[in-house]
């Protein structure tokens, strides 16, 4: 890590009954860094975030935020969070936006001024509105506003744009980026690959409670080293292709065969040796989407 860590997670584990939702997670987030926690549903993202916030105690391992225990960090206003809300708004009925922000800010020892919070969250013109009448995107801005009231050093966002259309997602992330630019680290959970790639400098991939990859999107792609071998072939035997060296998966569409390979050189040599006829051979990187699939799918059949 280049600078001091604002978040340090070591050997974190959490068991629910017979399943281990988080099975040994190590994670450091540097001051000011933006990190995506990427994984499918059930990967342990929300459980990890709940332990970082001290809402849930770990079965093993430890978390420090700014060198403090999670509950202490919350009490000191070091960390702000936006978690997934259930069915409703996540906000108390009948209250006004400005009133909520003033109340939450008043709980903290050294908060941002309510006016600054509203400005950062793009809510200045909605301060007098009741939360009941806001749109989904506006409500999410209110939740974001509450998360930054503390003037935190670390923002935790659990799937913050789930259910958003692309423009609403973009606009939300512009808001987050503008705030984070003032030196706040952001750790957010998502199962949207594009969101992780666009919004975070670093991606940590979580699968079945384990960190299976940690780096930039490019680094993850290289780590996984999945290459896609594509070619046209008139008559093909997909069973034979599946048996080629290093092939993980075979797909076929409109006469184009696509092989996912962990060693594209070996696959191509095998293909040539097999004597099959093919044209238009190309080898490409599989991209984060496929890297992600390779990381998070069960063993390919």
């Amino acid at each position: 890590m280049p600078t001091k860590a604002i978040l340090d997670v070591q050997g974190l584990r959490r068991r629910f009954g017979s399943t281990e939702a988080v099975a040994g997670v190590d994670l450091r987030v540097a001051a000011g860094e933006t990190v995506a926690l990427l994984g499918p549903n059930g990967a342990g993202k929300s459980t990890t975030l709940a332990m970082i916030l001290g809402l849930l105690s770990p079965t093993a391992g430890q978390v420090t935020v700014g060198g403090r225990a999670p509950r202490q960090a919350v009490a000191d206003g070091l960390v702000g969070a936006m978690l997934q809300s259930g069915a409703g708004t996540g906000l108390p009925s009948g209250t006004r936006v400005g009133e909520l922000v003033r109340f939450v800010a008043s709980l903290y020892p050294a908060p941002l001024s309510p006016a600054a919070v509203l400005r950062h969250a793009g809510l200045a013109s909605l301060a007098e509105r009741k939360v009941g009448g806001l749109s989904g995107g506006e409500l999410q801005r209110v939740r974001f506003a509450l998360a930054i009231c503390a003037d935190p050093r670390l923002l935790i966002l659990d799937e913050p744009t789930v259910g958003f259309d692309v423009p609403a997602q973009r606009s939300f992330w512009e808001t987050v980026r503008a705030f984070a630019a003032e030196g706040c680290a952001v750790l957010f959970a998502t199962h949207y690959l594009a969101e992780a790639a666009e919004s975070a400098g670093r991606v940590v991939v979580l699968h079945q409670g384990h960190v299976v990859a940690d780096g930039t999107v490019d680094e993850i792609r290289r780590t996984v080293a999945i290459r896609r071998v594509r070619f046209r072939a008139p008559d093909t035997d997909t069973v034979a292709l599946r048996a080629l060296p290093a092939v993980q998966q075979v797909r076929q569409a409109d006469g184009v065969i696509s092989l996912d390979s962990t060693d594209s050189d070996a696959t191509v040599r095998g293909l040539v040796r097999s004597g099959a006829t093919f044209t238009d051979l190309e080898v490409t990187g599989a991209g984060l989407a496929d890297a992600f699939l390779a990381l998070t799918c069960e063993e390919p059949a």
Binding site: L53, L56, G77, A81, G88, L91, F103
Partner: protein, 256 residues
Amino acid sequence: MKTHRPPLASFLAFELRRVLRSPAILVWTLAFPVVFYLLNFANKTNNRGAQRWAGTTWPVYFMVSMCAWAAIAAAVNAGGARLAAERANGWTRYLRLTPLPSWAYAAGKLLTGAALALMAALALALIAGAAARPQLPASAWAAMILACWLGSLPFAALGILVGLAAGTSVAEPAMVGTVLVLNVLGGLLWPLPVFPHWLQGIAKVLPTYRLVDLGRAAVTGHALNPADMAFLVAWTLLFGATAAWCYRADQQRLIG
């Protein structure tokens, strides 16, 4: 920036503003006891002049019952459906991500219920006093209101318990039903002697009976019964401890 207020003070102010903004809560709370009092205080079969109602007249006796009713119905709004909704939509959990301690959250809700109960008891005493004009010393008025107010504390705890234990759709009917049963069995509508003997035994354990008994002693200037206070404290602790247990269970469920 103003100086830093204790989180409990901020939370209490926030909650009070919320409930006072919707006076409908208070109006609905008061509607039944007020209307019922106005319809019944002059009831001739109750021989309103005679001092045979726990040592006082029927209009005073019944005023204590309805004052207790108003305080109880107001106090349960500390929790109830509003709390159930806040729990379901994640607001309760969000507050755990702020420096507001759990005890301050509970205390803020209880005190909000207590404030509503005091307003309801005052309002009922005012309306009943204007209608029935009972001749009572100022100290008796004060004692009755104080008894109904403080005696409503177990019901604020009960409201929080129901808000924590019940789902959003059942919290309101569960609350109304529980209060109605407790009030009727506690002798707030009909005096206890109309009940069969075994039911009177049950009634005397209930917090509603103990509250109204305390109120009657207060208004007539009789010695307060220590058993009334002991029962009210015990019910507060029972409801409070059960609510605390539900709260903890709920926190685990919300995350898992």
